[in-house]
């Protein structure tokens, strides 16, 4: 028979999942914007990718590497700020 403690755990798990989902969707939207801009720029303004904005590297290299590095960083951010969705499910 479910106890009050079980109910508390379920409520806590639901709240944690909701918070994780909101955080995940926010980070997803941020990354999608960066990726989408990269793809659209490559498709419609490919010459822009040859510009060398700094460090002697062109935009294609900087943006491409940037997308990989940002993906790793955002995954760490998600890992640090997401909550454990309850041990009991």
């Amino acid at each position: 028979m479910p106890t009050d403690s079980d109910a508390d755990l379920t409520t806590a798990a639901t709240a944690a999942r909701k918070q994780n989902m909101q955080l995940g969707l926010s980070l997803f939207a941020l990354y999608t914007a960066l990726y989408g801009a990269f793809v659209l720029t490559s498709a419609f303004y490919p010459d822009v990718m040859e510009i060398r904005p700094g460090g002697g590297l062109n935009l294609a290299l900087l943006w491409g590497f940037g997308l990989i590095v940002v993906a790793i960083l955002l995954s760490f951010v998600y890992g640090m700020f997401s909550r454990v969705a309850g041990a009991k499910q």
Partner: protein, 645 residues
């Protein structure tokens, strides 16, 4: 000689394969139940699972295909790296935790968690099989491409060897052995790619002037452009007559005193021309091959292709850079000139085909920008259709990762949602590091002087060979294990779909755990057999390109249903079934009717193709979403609880 069978390479290769099979038999005793066979009892530690994600995901397409594409065309291959990694963002932020919560053994479990519908089990089971089989093709092609130079065996032997080894791995211990094989492979792939990249940077870049080096290619000139057509003798050698199909081909053939001929491409500058040596591969209708007019082989009166890939000039007139830093490598290459290789196909009256591979001196700035590969060149054509083709591919790569059944089932092997999340983070980190390294590996191969112009898939192992015979042996063995790891995951996903979704779930055949495992093992043997046949049939296609198709099917068939189930409360059983079927059939049908399939598979002309684009994702992914919404609204029954809550 590009390829030479090395006893060391064979020994290391056999050691890897033997260890893998031994590990599978050792772990086999732990997997008598369906929980053990399909999900490793959900007890895999998250860190191990994370690296196993990398081992599962970094397939032949990533290692052989991407490195090969970068080595032959530059930055365009890196676009695949970017797209493949971006897909993991969808997996982590949207799919990982719900997937663990909803499912048990297969992708269909998660999709069907709210409905208990035979229709969903059938649709998702078939979709899993379709995606897995399409993903299997490039893995098997990659295996064959590796075995050929490594063991000196024909392509089909490599395919059969991979198929047989993987069937043993999957049949003996299911997910447990598959996980550990993938963990070992993922670890070694990242570590040795790092070592190889460091050696590329340490070697730096060096100019190879025309006519120098052990495999020198000659440059003749300058000659007068107006007199070239009349010259019967060039460089003291007889010029061969321009019979069909050489007439107006842009190539000049000169007699070779050792037999056969040397072929040259004509490079014009103002009113002067230079002749740059090319290489001609002639394939007769019976499959026999000639290289520059002599039978292919390393015996008397035979000839082999020369290895290629060199820097024509470095910035500031340097001849060699010495060791370079990670960013300095790109800065230097950007201002250098590298000789890439193009090819042209000439068809003789008797249907014999000659492919001429010719030098294409290319500025470094062009190599490090998108748009050099034929698939991506359209973004510079100014035509909207070509740009949409590019967007479609990049969309499929973004959406495909989180829809691949063999990746999704790995979420069932850990104990809870937190472990699913952590293992995905480990996976993203290791996969991301590897993808950064692909650019060093590909560009290193491009300038290594070791490439085979006919086989882009061998670029990474040949780069290793140019650095160290031992490294070549290890990298080749790792590449082979790479194929084993991914194919194991795919066959496991397929066998689960047959035993758990189709027989047990859809047909309602009552099977206990042990019977399910037995059926899954039989299914693994059958799917493995199909994969072997397809791997032999698709021998000549670039593996990375083939994987692009698998991603399109996965993204169209699976992602719309999965995401709408999680985020739209009005999703119905009928909506999910319709979405999966429409997404799968439309994307698969589109691919089969596309110009690429017409030319490369059916041998027909591109203009005979029915589909307007080769990459279907930009149409078929939205189509699957619209189908789900329309059918769900039409069928109307609301779910009481939302999974996302």
């Amino acid at each position: 000689m590009i390829y030479e069978v090395s006893p060391l390479a064979v020994a290391i290769f056999l050691l890897f394969v033997g260890s893998t099979i031994g590990l599978s038999f050792f772990l086999g005793r732990k997997t008598q139940t369906s929980e053990g066979y399909f999900a490793a009892h959900g007890q895999v530690p998250w860190a191990v699972n994370g690296i196993a994600f990398a081992g599962d995901y970094l397939s032949a397409a990533s290692f052989l295909g991407i490195c090969g594409m970068i080595a032959f065309y530059g930055y365009d291959g890196f676009l695949y790296s970017i797209g493949y990694l971006a897909g993991w963002i969808v997996a982590l932020f949207v799919i990982a935790e719900p997937m663990k919560r909803l499912g048990r053994f297969t992708f269909a479990d998660a999709l069907d968690s709210q409905f208990d519908s035979r229709g969903i089990k059938l649709a998702a089971g078939i979709s899993t099989l379709a995606v897995s089989v399409f993903y299997l093709i490039p893995q098997m092609v990659g295996a064959g491409a590796l075995i050929q130079p490594l063991l000196g065996l024909p392509h089909w032997v490599g395919v059969v060897l991979v198929g047989a080894t993987v069937i043993v791995i999957v049949v003996t211990a299911g997910m447990v052995s598959t996980t550990w094989v993938q963990f070992l492979k993922g670890s070694m792939l990242v570590i040795f790619s790092f070592i190889l990249s460091a050696m590329v940077l340490s070697r730096g870049l060096e100019v190879t002037p025309p006519g120098t080096g052990p495999n020198a290619l000659q440059t003749i000139g300058p000659l007068s452009a107006s007199e070239l057509a009349q010259l019967q003798e060039i460089d003291g050698r007889v010029r061969l007559p321009e019979t069909d199909p050489w007439v107006d081909s842009g190539f000049v053939r000169l007699e070779n005193p050792a037999g056969g001929f040397d072929v040259f491409s004509v490079r014009q500058q103002d009113d002067q021309v230079w002749l740059d040596q090319a290489q001609a591969v002639t394939t007769a209708t019976d499959g026999s091959q000639q290289i520059d007019g002599l039978p292919k082989g390393d015996g008397e009166g035979q000839r082999l292709l020369r290895p290629v890939g060199h820097v024509a000039s470095l910035p500031d007139g340097q001849t060699a850079t010495g060791p370079l830093g990670p960013l300095q490598f790109f800065r230097t290459l950007q201002d250098s000139e590298v000789v890439l290789w193009g090819n042209r196909r000439l068809v003789h009256p008797d249907q014999t085909v000659t492919t001429v591979y010719y030098q294409k001196p290319t500025e470094g700035g062009r190599i490090l920008r998108p748009g050099e590969h034929p698939v991506f060149a359209g973004i510079r054509s100014g035509q909207t259709k070509d740009r949409i083709e590019f967007l479609s591919l990049m969309l499929a790569l973004f959406c495909g990762t989180a829809s691949l059944p063999h990746i999704l089932i790995r979420y069932y092997t850990v104990k809870d949602e937190a472990a699913a999340r952590k293992s995905t983070i480990v996976g993203i980190t290791s996969i991301g590091v590897f993808y950064v390294l692909t650019l060093y590996l590909g560009l290193g191969a491009m300038t290594s002087g070791a490439l085979d112009v006919t086989n882009s898939n061998m670029a990474a192992p040949l780069l290793a060979r140019s650095l160290s015979p031992l490294l070549f042996a290890i990298i080749s063995a790792i590449a082979f294990t790479t194929v084993l790891g991914t194919v194991s995951g795919l066959i496991l996903a397929s066998s689960g779909a047959v035993a758990h979704d189709l027989l047990s779930g859809f047909l309602g055949i009552s099977l206990n755990g042990q019977q399910q495992v037995r059926v899954a093992k039989v299914a693994a043997v059958i799917v493995g057999g199909i994969a072997i046949l397809l791997g032999i049939a698709f021998v000549e296609m670039n593996v990375s390109y083939l994987v692009g198709w698998a991603f399109s099917i996965a993204a169209s068939a699976n992602l719309p249903a999965l995401t709408m189930l999680l985020f739209w409360k009005r999703t119905t059983r009928q909506g999910i079934i319709a979405s999966v079927i429409v997404g799968m059939v439309s994307s698969l049908g589109w691919i089969l009717l596309s110009a690429d399939t017409f030319t490369q598979v059916y041998g027909l002309r591109a203009d005979q193709a029915w589909a307007p684009l080769s990459q279907p994702g930009i149409v078929t992914i939205p189509l699957a979403y619209v189908t789900l919404i329309v059918v769900s609204l039409a069928t109307g029954s609301r779910r009481d609880t939302a999974v996302a809550d």
